[in-house]
Subunit: 200 residues, 2 copies
């Protein structure tokens, strides 16, 4: 599936990567380096903005989202990207954009929706934030399945703007309440046993 449509043999000298698999915790790219844009086929990606004062969480990318679109303009990545769940990425080609602005518009609309999601994850009570993050991951990470990979506490804390301790307590409570069920030992697979009445 996903046979590549005839791409114009452009000046792009990169080898034609078809799919890129990245496991949880690995860095996808650093800020300021050269590279291409990718579409997230599965998994979750954490974006970070790098400043003089350090690196700060700056966005989330889930299935369907595009990361590194700015490379088509500047050639370099504006943000650092790190996998917070096992990821599959496919190249997002400039060919698409030449073809139809519609694809770009959809990407833009998706980015705005995702940005609103990310903002919402930083509002409300701690437990509710963590719960919504899990529901969001369950919604987007795997296709309809109930298994989701939970990111490391460090990443969940950055996303929700809580401390690791608070996130840990919230996760424990989610398990105690039966909304989540631990599968693996460490940040492993879990099952969303809870209500599908997710109001995100």
């Amino acid at each position: 599936m996903h046979t590549a449509m005839a791409t114009p043999a452009a000046a792009n000298t990169l080898p034609t990567v078809q799919l890129r698999r990245i496991s949880i915790g690995e860095r996808i790219h650093a800020a300021g380096t050269e590279g291409i844009a990718w579409r997230v086929k599965s998994g979750a990606v954490r974006l970070d903005r790098v400043t003089a004062e350090g690196s700060n969480y700056a966005g989330l990318a889930l299935r369907g989202d595009v990361i590194g679109a700015e490379t088509l303009l500047f050639g370099k990545y504006s943000f650092a990207a790190c996998a917070i769940g096992d990821c599959e990425l496919e190249p997002w080609l400039a060919a698409d954009k030449e073809l139809s602005g519609e694809s770009l518009l959809q990407t833009l609309a998706g980015a705005e929706r995702r940005a609103a999601d990310a903002l919402a994850l930083r509002a409300g009570e701690a437990f509710e934030r963590v719960r919504r993050l899990c529901l969001l991951l369950a919604r987007y990470c795997d296709e309809g399945r109930k298994e989701i990979t939970i990111p490391e506490l460090r990443d969940m804390a950055a996303i929700t703007n809580l401390t690791e301790e608070t996130v840990s307590r919230a996760m424990s409570r989610l398990c105690r309440l039966g909304m989540l069920q631990r599968q693996g030992r460490r940040h492993g697979l879990v099952l969303v046993a809870a209500d599908p009445a997710f109001a995100i």
Copy 2:
């Protein structure tokens, strides 16, 4: 200035609006209604996502940003928009996008940067958040001038995820420290007297 370049007499039956002026507090559009996309020429816009549980802050748009781009796909606005500073909007035409995907790409890159800004405004201590918000507004609202319109407390509170009281205290402190200077009485013009060493 800003003479409109010859626009193709398209099927667009809307009267050719050249510039739309909106004063602080006014609603620009509601979610779900029909309309066109706009580029913010000046001022600040608050975006809200409307759900069953109510309306929640979902994004910020400043000079150069585009709002309502999704109308080019769906015909309707996904978010509600409200001016939190006196605004000038100009129509953002589909003609641009047909012309060059580059314009769309720039809009996309800008949206991601702005989303990162919005996220950053919800991290750190209360005083620091409010200070950064003011610096961001100073940076983008008026062209290089030092006068900025301060949004209503309600909006600053929503953006920073603080309460109005806390924002009010932070603003008072900014004035006491000489970083800001009140001009008008209410949500009026203020001067940024502080260090231009803004590290946002």
